[in-house]
Symmetry: C2
Subunit: 177 residues, 2 copies
Amino acid sequence: MAELTPVTQKFILHWGEMGTRWGINRTVAQIHALLYLAARPLHAEEIAGALAVARSNVSTSLRELQGWGVIRVVHVLGDRRDHFESMKEVWEMFRIVLDERKRREIDPTVAVLRDCVAEAERAGAGEKLPRERLSQMLEFFETMGGWYEQMRRLPTPVVIKFVKMGAKMRKLLGIGG
Amino acid sequence: MAELTPVTQKFILHWGEMGTRWGINRTVAQIHALLYLAARPLHAEEIAGALAVARSNVSTSLRELQGWGVIRVVHVLGDRRDHFESMKEVWEMFRIVLDERKRREIDPTVAVLRDCVAEAERAGAGEKLPRERLSQMLEFFETMGGWYEQMRRLPTPVVIKFVKMGAKMRKLLGIGG
DNA sequence: AGGATATTTCTGTGATCACAGAACTTGCCA
DNA sequence: TGGCAAGTTCTGTGATCACAGAAATATCCT
């Protein structure tokens, strides 16, 4: 890996910063950014060199990125080191991240909410108010989850078209902004 | 504030946990959960007691929640203490949180991406590949941002109807799942 | 003005997280 | 089967974050 250009550096630093804001380890996000911009798959040593972090750190971060499903191992002929490349399709990439966050965080939240509502029902009148509030929140998550499940099944180009249609839909529904 | 019921406790603990996963301080998220379920506005002392945290901690957390715009101060006649209540409209509440995150994180990201693309253009052929990749990401954020801007202007009931229509839209567009 | 209560800001400590370097494991090749 | 390179896991340290308690400030009431 050659020295990083200023543009690449700027993006990597910002992406790392954004990561931390969304609960992603900074190094993990930086490696992701690096691989996203890299012209070819990189091996651990190159990544460690480019970002000036320890190889052990790179190793665990790569594993985590694989867990998210946004990078993958590739092999180069005549080189037994693992090389890594990021997905390049941005829409697809974010879909995967959303899927994963839904699975890890939203689905468990829905489960907890269902539990809470059920328990509140058993508890009777004393829990009426919390039960209603929790039901409202549960309904929100379920509705959004259902919508997302539909969207995520559409082929990416359709979703893109869909999103770009956004402005028109407003008129379509006859609602003034 | 009376002792928390098991249901309330469960939700508060989970909400706190979710907070940390999304870059929100645990206590902040817990207070939010508590106020969301509370039958009436609570003052700092009650909150501190219910969650068993220091009042100073409550003070700063309440300030942060006000910064997000999801709680507000109310006053009770004959009591000079500040009381706090959470928004109760779930859809509205999440819209506010999304607005805020967009403002704090997405908009700056778009700005950085624009910078990077511009700089890459100036740099010429050497930066062709990163420029293309960054442009793709920029376009993604801009498209999604534009879509969101439209959606957020719609009255909440319309958005709800919209989201619930999700499944039908698929057929409407003539796409099989 | 003085005292009581409410609230915020400051400060030190404890907990958690991030990470480098070392130790260890795996797999290939001679 | 010994040796080397790649990769992973372990361990200790430093940095960051969260938070309690203290100190300071503000507000109201008499």
